[in-house]
């Protein structure tokens, strides 16, 4: 059988072109119709420091960045040492033999002086292309996959284009040649099965940012913080034009309060942050819940708590997103699990915020925000964007009076009221009357009913044990699920990105299960504890390493749990 899957890791120092090489490989593969995904980890230091990126290339959609490497490209000795263990049996190490020396044991370690060979083409930056040429040879790719990519990439209408293309193609050839000398092969990678529609290749934060623009974003204020900063930078660049405003706040406190100022003033507004910022925003999020002001907060999770692990991935901000502030509130949370969902989550978040007139949190995570992947290009014509129900009547209106959501007056228009974060009466004046507090509390929670339109995935619904990942763990969990099902395990599949409110039918189904297994990247098993409080027999598979789940690990753990829960079924 041909190879269906190709996993390469590039590891070295920041500045050595690790990221460029891996992105180029993915881009080239995507161009000929493969599915691709790259995942990177960065050091916290700015220049230098150990970095690695992984590219995975498949004939079918990529669900995770892959457990084991077909090839490790080591740019320095350190990288060689520390990444070896992730190589699969029969995998190959490619290293820069001008940088360091290792015992080539004749089986799987290949030294090529990439940088030197690259430079020999006259182009000091062509070293990466030597690597790509060598890799292509390993999986018997046709020459034109990479040469066409090079032509496309470097045709930028500049005088130097021709020479750059020539030297890069020469470098590809040198790499191919070096590799062919070794007579190593990983087997031929199956030809791509190009996906039906147009594809875009982007990062999670790009997808989310474009989604926000599609959703109607008008005002953005944010404070830099990894791994959310790229959203702020994106907005600074693209959120321009009449009626739009984007700015870097002086802190998260300023950013979040400005966002709700804008929401109050009639705009679709958003901020992006990570855990430490979310914590600082808690009082203001409670304010928006209380005074019923729409706004979207993107929390790109990283390792916590506190300053935590800024460049690592984790799913440990769920509890604090559902309940960021003191007092009674339950903030709507949408947690995308794929890059496509990042895009749609942003649109839905705005729809929700406008519909129930309150704050909505998008819970993304580093593993989504920083990875590159091909997804079908969204068809914008099909997207429903909801707008605010603006009050257009006469003065004397009582915005908060009704027990349901009611048209919202916008400053400058009729219906002046006070948006009040103290308990208030219909017009927003402060009051402490018990009957008011009861009424308003029920009004605020009652509005969540409007958000029960979330969709969900459900498969093998007849099984009494189900798997239900959330957020970015969806990918590895799905890959594990497919293997487990193929191996004959009886287990259902549920998934939604709408974590609060959960789709009511989904919740009902989950309550019928004997066990719902939740793989999640945190210590406490946060989502399963939420589900248990909602009456679902949920148990977590937790991991708190700062890294995504490995598929093999999930296969093992899920299998264990399923078998422990219904031993008789499995033994049949």
């Amino acid at each position: 059988m041909q190879k269906q899957d190709f996993i390469v890791r590039f590891a070295g120092e920041g500045g050595q072109g690790v990221v460029t090489a891996s992105e180029a490989l993915a881009q080239a593969a995507a161009q000929v119709g493969y599915h691709v995904m790259t995942f990177a980890t960065f050091p916290s230091q700015i220049s230098g420091g150990p970095t690695w990126t992984q590219s995975r290339i498949r004939t079918t959609p990529v669900l995770s960045s892959g457990d084991e490497l077909d090839v490790l490209v080591a740019f320095n000795e350190d990288a060689y040492e520390s990444h070896q263990p992730d190589l699969r049996k029969g995998g190959i190490v490619l290293y820069d033999s001008a940088e360091f020396e290792v015992d080539e044991d004749g089986t799987n370690v290949i030294g090529i002086p990439f940088e030197e060979l690259g430079k020999s083409t006259g182009n000091p930056r062509a070293g990466n292309m030597v690597v790509l040429g060598a890799l292509a040879n390993l999986v018997s790719w046709p020459e034109e996959y990479l040469s066409e990519f090079v032509k496309k990439r470097f045709s930028r209408g500049r005088a130097a284009d021709e020479e750059i293309i020539r030297s890069n193609i020469e470098a590809l050839g040198l790499g191919r040649q070096e590799m062919s000398k070794r007579e190593f092969s990983l087997g031929e990678l199956a030809a791509p099965i190009p996906p039906g529609g147009e594809q875009v290749l982007l990062k999670g934060n790009d997808a989310l940012s474009i989604g926000a623009l599609v959703g109607g974003l008008e005002t953005f204020v944010g404070y830099p913080i990894s791994p959310a900063t790229t959203i702020l930078v994106f907005m600074e660049r693209y959120l321009v034009g009449p009626g739009k405003f984007v700015y870097q706040g002086s802190s998260e406190l300023e950013s979040i309060n400005a966002v709700f100022g804008a929401g109050y003033a009639g705009k679709k507004a958003m901020t992006s942050t990570a855990g430490p910022g979310l914590s600082l925003m808690s009082e203001a999020i409670g304010m928006a819940w209380m005074s019923e002001i729409p706004g979207v907060i993107v929390n790109v999770q990283r390792g916590g708590p506190a300053t935590g692990l800024p460049t690592k991935t984790e799913q440990s901000d769920l509890l604090s997103s559902l309940n960021p502030a003191h007092g009674d509130s339950r903030i709507p949370v949408i947690a995308p699990g794929t890059l496509e969902e990042c895009f749609y989550a942003a649109i839905h978040a705005f729809n929700w915020a406008e519909r129930y007139q309150g704050p909505v949190i998008i819970l993304s995570e580093m593993m989504l925000s920083e990875r590159t992947q091909n997804i079908p290009k969204p068809d914008l014509a099909k997207i429903v964007v909801e707008s605010r129900n603006v009050f257009r009547g006469d003065n004397g209106y009582q915005r908060y009076e009704s027990s349901e959501v009611s048209p919202m007056p916008i400053p400058g228009g009729p219906g002046a009221y006070v948006a009040n974060a103290s308990e208030h009466d219909g017009t927003g004046d402060t009051t402490h009357l018990p009957s008011r507090h009861v009424h308003m509390t029920e009004r605020r929670f009652g509005k969540l009913k409007l958000l029960e339109d979330g969709t969900y995935e459900a498969e093998h619904v007849g099984e009494s044990v189900a798997l239900m990942p959330w957020g970015g763990s969806k990918g590895p969990a799905r890959e594990a699920y497919e293997e487990l099902i193929a191996s004959g395990l009886n287990v259902g599949w549920y998934y939604t990105m709408y974590l609060n409110p959960l789709p009511p039918k989904l919740l009902e189904e989950l309550r019928q299960k004997e066990l719902v297994i939740i793989p999640e990247l945190n210590y406490q098993g946060q989502f399963s504890s939420v589900l248990r409080s909602l009456g679902v027999k949920a148990e977590s598979i937790t991991q708190y390493t700062g890294l995504p789940f490995k598929v093999s690990h999930l296969i093992e753990k899920i299998g264990e749990k399923v078998r422990a829960s219904a031993p008789e079924k499995v033994t049949v």
Partner: protein, 288 residues
């Protein structure tokens, strides 16, 4: 909004300076309605938490929009409103605790951006609503519930702070001089940039400075307040600085940058002429 509202359960103490500030606010907004021919709903009052901030519920007559959020965050909220909706007139009302203690971090950034809003700071040298604790402007040595052995922290000079941070319109006022205060608020609203009208608004319950401010000839107490003379060139920073160094409490416009360009204008200028990329084109730019 409250006079006729039996549910609303707050009222200022008799003699509280905030009454005068409220009257001035009402008159200033009315003046603006006349000047701009815009309805009162074009005004947004962003209120701090404190006795002072309750003004947002106590304005009588034509009702502006209001925002009464959390303690210390008036300026960020106002920035969100104003920069999203430059057509609105945004007025902040806050106390010395709200604006200068917990909210202090927000003054510098808005001054540096020249956010086009008007702040009416009601300084009573005390935390009124929480019952009389010391505030940044409480004087040295003062005994309060939280400084039982006398305050040992040098009081903040808000006017100097505003000058240093580059606030482009700075006025000083006294709550009992309602007409003058009205004029200063109107001037602040007309100023294209960050305007602060700092008002001595005594807390008759915890820190009654009315007599000290106005003086009392009967008791031989000289007034602290004095009107800034008409000759004062408010565009002159050193003249402004000299006023601040003088004794007593000068009333009037201390400093006004005549070349002030508002934040919204700058923001618009930098993006003028830039054709926004449509989401469709953005997506296309990521096409495989």
């Amino acid at each position: 909004m409250s006079k006729k509202n039996p549910e609303y359960d707050f009222a200022w103490c008799p003699g509280c300076g905030d009454f005068g500030v409220r009257r001035a606010m009402e008159m200033a907004m009315r003046q603006r309605m006349v000047d701009t021919e815009l309805p009162v709903e074009n005004n947004v009052v962003v209120a701090g938490i404190g006795c002072s901030g309750n003004m947002v519920h106590l304005v009588e007559g034509p009702q502006p929009f209001g925002f009464h959020g959390v303690h210390g965050r008036t300026l960020p909220v106002a920035m969100g409103i104003k920069m999203s909706r430059p057509d609105l007139n945004v007025i902040i009302v806050a106390g010395d605790g709200d604006f200068l203690s917990i909210g202090a971090e927000h003054i510098g950034p808005q001054a540096q951006r020249n956010l086009n809003v008007t702040c009416v700071v009601m300084d009573n040298g005390v935390y009124g609503l929480t019952k009389g604790q010391s505030s940044p402007t409480t004087i040295w040595g003062e005994v309060t519930p939280t400084t039982p052995r006398g305050k040992i922290e040098r009081p903040l000079n808000p006017l100097e702070l505003y000058m240093t941070l580059g606030v482009s319109f700075i006025a000083n006022a006294y709550s009992s001089k309602v007409k003058e205060l009205t004029g200063l608020i109107v001037d602040g609203m007309n100023h294209p940039g960050f305007a602060i009208v700092h008002v001595q608004s005594p807390c008759t319950y915890y820190n009654d400075t009315h007599e000290a401010l106005k003086g009392n000839p009967a008791k031989g107490i000289a007034p602290q307040v004095w009107d800034i003379p008409a000759e004062h060139d408010s565009s002159d920073r050193s003249a402004a600085q000299a006023l601040l160094n003088a004794d007593g409490v000068p009333l009037g416009v201390i400093y006004r940058n005549p070349e002030s360009i508002s934040f919204e204008q700058r923001a618009q200028e930098t993006s003028d002429g830039i054709k926004p990329t449509s989401p469709e084109d953005l997506l296309a730019s990521f096409k495989v």
